[in-house]
Structure formats: C-alpha cells, structure tokens
Symmetry: C2
Subunit: 391 residues, 2 copies
C-alpha cells in the first residue's frame, strides 16, 4: 500500500545498511571492542570551540525571535557570512542573493536538482560516488548517467564527452571525493569546464563539497567557483564543524553562472516546497559566528596515516587519500565476496559496488584510534589469506 | 535554463507572496505603523520557558555527540517522548517505531507523500486549504483532487465520496484548519473514516496538525489517531512551542494503520533521500524535555476575539474560529478585487482564492495588539465603502 517505486528500493536495501546490520550482529556476539567497524562515515570529532561558544552565547541571550521564521532563503546575516567567505576563497564577487541556506548538502542538492530537472533530463555522475545521488536524481524524475573516472579516480574527460547528449542537464562533481579520497586538481576542473562550455546548451555543474576543508598531505582543495563556470556549490558544515546532525548547509550559485538570478530564486522556491521551508534558524546564527572555524583536521590526517600504513602493510594496494574521510583500496577478489570474507575476521568494510565502482572497498577512518590499531591483526590475516603478504 | 515546471510556478507566483511585496511597498511609503498587515501567519509568541531552559541546559552541558548523526528516524529519546505523548492523547498504544522525527510538518508531509504516491495517484484535498499542498503533491507526481467543504467549512462527505476513484491514494485533512479556523468535529471524522474504510482499496489519511494545540472558545481538538484508522499524523512544533524557524516535527503512523510497519520504514527512507536525512539534532533533544509545554494560547485567543469584534463590527460576516491563527470572513465582492481595495486602505489581507476558496479573505491574528487595534478605522471604512455598515 506504499508506492511501488519506494517498496522496490526498500526491498533492495543499501549495502552500507547491510554492513551496518551485520556489524550489529557481530557486535552482539563478540562485543563492540572486538569488531572493527569501518563502514560508516560518521564524523566523530567534537565541534570546534567557536561553535560551542556561539551555541552558548545564543542560548543565553535575551534576544527575541531567535526561533522564528525568516525569509525562506535564510537569515541575511548567515547569507552575508557565506557570501563573503566564498568571495574570499574564490576571488569572485559572490552576492548573498545567490546563497540559499539549506538543510545540509543533501537538502541543497535536492533543491538544486528540483530547480533544474524536467522529467527525463540526464545527470552525469562520476563513479565512484555516494549512491544517494541516484535517489536524489530519481526524486526529480531525472536519469542518472554513470561515467567511470580514470585509474587515479580523476574525471575521464573523454568518457564525459561521450556521455553528453542533448538531454544532459547537469553533472555532479564531489571533490574531495567520497569514497576515493581524491581531490580533483585545478587542471582537470579547468578542462572539464571547457568541455561543458563548448556544448551547445548549458550544463549545470552541481558541486557537492562537504569535505572541502578536509585535505591532507599538504594539499588544498581548488575552489570550484574559481575553476568552474556554471556551477552551484552545495555545502554542509557536517564535516568542517562536525555538525552532521544539525542539518545546516547552503546552495550558492556562481556569479559567473549564465542563469544565476532565476536559478537562485528557483532554489529558494524548491527549498520551500520540498518541505525544508528554511534551514534551521538557531544553527544559521551559529554559522554566522563560527564560519571561519574548523575541526582538528590534523587529527583526521593522523588517523588516515595510521590506517593507511596498516592496510598497505597488510599487502593491499591503496591510493593515499588527499581528502575526505575514507581509504579506497583495491579488493583482491570480487568486492562483495571480499567484504563478506572480511566480516568473518570481524572487519566491516563497504564493497566498492556500493559506490558503483566494483573491485575496491571503502574504509572510513573517522573511527577511534583504538579501533584502527586493534584492526591491524585482522587486516594482516585477511592479507595473508589472499597471499598479499607472507603467511 | 531551469526546469520548465519550476519556471512556470515562479512566474505565476503566490498570492501570499504578492501581498507580502505589496505590504513592503506600502510600508516604505507610509511607514510600518500605518500599514495593517494581516497577510502572514508567522507565530509571534516567544517559546515557553521550558523550551528556553532546555536550550540553555543542553548548550551548557559537557555531553559529547550532541550534534552528531543519529538514526535517520531520529533520537530514540525524542521518538519515545512523541510515542508516549500520542499514546496518552489518543488512548492507543503508539510505538516509537512508528514515529519519524522530521524537518517540520512540511518535511513530514513530503516524506509521507513520497512514500505512498506512484505517478498519477490522486490525493483529495479539502478546500479551503494551504496551497503548498499542491506543490507537495506535485513534487511526487501525484494529482490533487480538490473537494469543497460545506457552508461551515466542515468536510462534505457526499462530495468526498463522489471524488474517490480507483486512483485515490490519500486524503489530506487539516484541523484546526488554515485558513478557516474550523475544527473538524468527532462525528465528521468518524463518518469520514467509515467512508474511507468502505472503499475496496486503502486510502491513507494524511493529517496535517500544526495547530492541534491552538483551540479557542472552550473547544478541544479531537485526536486524529483516536478517530481515524489509516492515518499518518504530520506534526510540527512551529506553533505549539513557537519554533517555526527550527524545522522540528514528526510523522507518526497510526497503530491501527493496515500497513504500519512498511509505511513507517518507507517514511524514514524518504525522509533521508529527500535530503532532510534526519530532523535537526539539537532541537530533537529540546523537544524530549519540553514536549508537554505550550505557548500562551490564551494570548492568541485574546487577539482572535479582538480582531473578530473589529471585523464583525465593521459589517463583515465571519464564522468565529475555534482554532489556528486566522479569521476567514466573507468578501463583499470578488475576493481578489476586494484584497486590492483593502490595500488602498493600507489593510493587507489574503484573498480566499489563495486557498482555492474564492469569496472569502484570510486575516492572520498573530500580529501585535497595536496593529489589530490600529486597523479598526480601516476596517470600518472598507465596511462602509461596501455599504455593510452605515457611512
């Protein structure tokens, strides 16, 4: 008695969810300390002190109307803070009228996709990618066109060019990437932009950037606004300020976007009708104050290096991540079978197939140092069982 | 370059928005104190002290993980609080597994509609109604079937019966009603339920209840769970706790719903894929503590009576509202022309056509007592100009 299309999706389930359930089963049997769960990308650092102070100051203030409705696009003070932050990092004059505060990046992406897609329009996604994108596109009657990246998980521009049709309405880019940890470099972004601009119709670039501040190995993340023309930034403070549960983010249309005025209005409208109405009021105000703060990125980098060493010492081939919260090593056999085998060693990993990239597996390193260190023996055993290292 | 279907909606705009813009124009000319703006239903009371204390306690606590992800369905403590609240008011055993915390009632309705609608499915809405319902239904490829209520704005069951087809998947009820202020009585709900149960397929009843606690004239609002069978409650604390900006609400499936297990799962899934992911974390915890609190309803009732007396003394015919935040008097001429004429007297009202109920106009009484008292002269002038009272 529910919708057929939803019933089908519920029945198929998600691989990440299956790993989650398997993890709960194993933890019930062996105890939580004996299960090494790398399946969930849940940011585990506390928010920086600037956030905590902003929350406390606002909570204790005598100001009225803190929890009231505001314009659907958000508090002007929050939009101003975002606009000036984006102007500073991009070198472009971003106006607050192009910024809509949203219920996280997922809320932003849904509002943007609703704004641009008519039924049957195509959206290019670059595998590996976060599978929820398929639901977001499907929500708005779009058709996902999956294009593989190259051997280093960078966009393959020949493959993108081949995938473009008259119905291509948008492309989703996600850098630093979940699950590969790759940062798309400036040169690649520039060539992608030229390719898209050379088409005879406009193709929106939807840039999903929740990991923008999480860069390692001395790398930084090129500004999407500086390097891409018809781009809409979809951002969340889930990772940079460790506020994933609060659902606070924004959509920002580039000042160079060919249709910025109407698109900005459409996003605000769609943010409203999809049920968000507006981003949560209290945390918009927190953001206004704490927008320049950041979680302890070095802490994530430390754990990334720790897990990277354990995994590669166990014989697995893995590109070292430059950003985000994941390792994405090569699986020594079919990735779904490999993940099942790992579970026998109480190691929970997500098969690459869950990101439409079979042959790999994902490890979230936002887990405790104890879990990471504790997993060393299990990784060595698995590596040995595949003959990757001597037994 | 945006979606055609969204471009069309932006072009047509909403009447409430047009009144808002006209209001800004008038306020710029005459000053805000000389414009009597009854167009926006923005709850203007501060949250009760229990909310304020809960916000402060949580902000000052040393607890970790307050802002982290939780299950997509929400914090278990918040779901438990909702389930026991609903069990108490309905007399039915509501389990927390049937409760999904959402981004307000609008977020809840979108998740529910996505869960039940396949393309082309029909949803009955009872006019007058909040026009955003049309967008919510359209978002999920449904078809709205508008059915007029009777002369007292109660559901007309003969008309509902005539509107039901094999494709009818749901009916939306909203009591206390925006804009009429009517509470659907128990007898009517019971007869509506019998009508729906007598059909040869299941029809979901989506009960939008943000005004459930705002009842006047000694009336109370019958429990939808107690009186309707296949019902899903969509609730928001926007009005009862004056938290509209925080976007905090829930969807709860009745324990008597024929498909409660799968539907409850589907709602959590749709809440996730539509981009909410989960309801805002901090305010879920606030709700856990403050769920039994309420804004000063007597204050709203006082202003309702004040405005009701002014409007009826100016000669307008108006059913006295039993709930919600609006008067819905009869317009003495075409309602759109009437609203335009009111604006000439610096009176901002919304035509009934904006609720698919021409011939009436809506006045929000959640405005300052000063504005209400100040409007008396303007209402009398308008009443005189139509010959409703002597000149």
């Amino acid at each position: 008695m529910i919708a057929k299309r939803i019933s089908e999706k519920l029945a198929s389930g998600s691989m990440i969810r299956k790993m989650f359930e398997e993890g709960n089963r194993l933890k019930a049997i062996y105890g939580p300390d004996a299960v090494y769960d790398f399946s969930i990308g849940n940011p585990d650092l506390e928010p920086p002190v600037e956030v905590r102070n902003a929350v406390r100051t606002l909570a204790m203030s005598e100001e009225t109307g803190i929890h009231a409705y505001m314009s659907n696009s958000g508090h002007q003070v929050a939009r101003d803070a975002v606009a000036s932050h984006l102007s500073r990092i991009s070198g472009l004059p971003v106006d607050s009228s192009a910024v809509c505060m949203t219920v996280g990046a997922a809320g932003a992406m849904n509002a943007v996709l609703r704004s641009v897609l008519d039924p049957g329009d195509e959206v290019i996604v670059l595998a590996p990618f976060f599978m929820e994108y398929l639901s977001y596109i499907d929500n708005h009657d779009g058709k996902a066109v999956v294009v593989r990246t190259d051997d280093h998980f960078q966009p393959d521009l020949v493959a993108v060019a081949e995938a473009i049709t008259a119905r291509t309405k948008a492309i989703i880019v996600n850098s630093p990437n979940n699950p590969s940890g790759v940062i798309y470099d400036e040169e690649t972004l520039h060539r992608l932009d030229q390719l898209l601009l050379s088409q005879d119709h406009l193709i929106h670039i939807i840039s999903d950037e929740p990991y923008a501040e999480l860069a390692y190995n001395g790398k930084s993340v090129p500004s999407s606004l500086a390097n891409l023309t018809n781009v809409i930034v979809c951002y969340s403070w889930s990772k940079s300020l460790s506020l994933p549960g609060e659902r606070i983010g924004y959509a920002a249309v580039s000042p160079r976007h060919a249709d910025k005025a109407e698109l900005s209005q459409a996003i605000v409208f769609c943010n409203r009708i999809l049920g968000s109405v507006n981003a949560p009021a209290f945390f918009q105000r927190v953001i206004e104050t704490a927008i320049d703060a950041k979680v302890d990125v070095a802490n994530y980098e430390y754990r990334m290096n720790l897990l990277y060493d354990i995994v590669t010492n166990a014989g697995f081939r893995c590109q070292k991540p430059d950003g985000a919260l994941y390792l994405f090593p090569k699986a020594p056999e079919d990735d779904v079978a490999f993940a099942a085998n790992c579970a026998k060693h109480n190691l929970l990993v997500v098969p690459g197939s869950a990101f439409l990239c079979p042959g790999y597996f994902r490890l979230a390193f936002c887990v405790s140092e104890k879990t990471i260190r504790g997993s060393e023996k299990a990784f060595r055993e698995v590596g040995q069982s595949y003959g990757l290292i001597p037994g």
